[in-house]
Amino acid sequence: MLRLLDVQGRQHDLADLRGKVVYLDFWASWCGPCRQSFPWMNQLQQRHAKDGLVVLAVNLDAEAKDAAAFLARYPASFSVLYDATGASAKTWGVKAMPSSYLIDRQGAIRSRHIGFRPSSAVELDAQIAALLQTP
């Protein structure tokens, strides 16, 4: 259950992505590890888009201009959705920033990852590759 708008005002619904593997990331401009995760998420999208992976990032900044400044420095080639109220983070039970969820093709949450370190990338790469193999 995730329905949010992107910067152009287009609505994205997680339910529409049934059949795809979704990497859902909650981030904010003030979060240090988020800066490290963006280049990796760009790579991820590029490498696995053809295999049916969708990277979705939910921004939780209270002010949209903070997010815009972050994205100018760390561009994102994946969809970024905006939730200034933090309602989605509450629903998803975000415990720390960044938090990410790996959702399988049936729409079930398969794993949750808290924080981001270079070692996280290695671990997540393996998990995502495995999930993309399963129909």
């Binding site: 003030w30 933090g86 983070a89 975000v94």
Partner: protein, 67 residues
């Protein structure tokens, strides 16, 4: 007893739970105790050397202000 309860209730009203995604304002440099760590360390070193016996800030100095 009643006064104590009243006092604690007034004090508790000042507490709020900050959710992990609401720390944007707290993360601003202006919210830090020491906005510039290097300057803060320098200040501590001078302070410790002048206040020979007090100090204890984890900054090494001999009391002469020379190191």
């Amino acid at each position: 007893m009643r006064i104590c309860l009243l006092l604690s209730m007034t004090l508790l009203a000042g507490c709020a739970t900050v959710q992990p995604w609401e720390k944007g304002h707290l993360a601003k440099p202006i919210m830090a105790f020491d906005p510039d760590p290097l300057t803060a360390r320098q200040h501590k070193q001078i302070y410790t050397s002048k206040e020979a016996a007090s100090g204890g800030q984890g900054v090494g100095t001999g009391g002469c202000g020379c190191n």
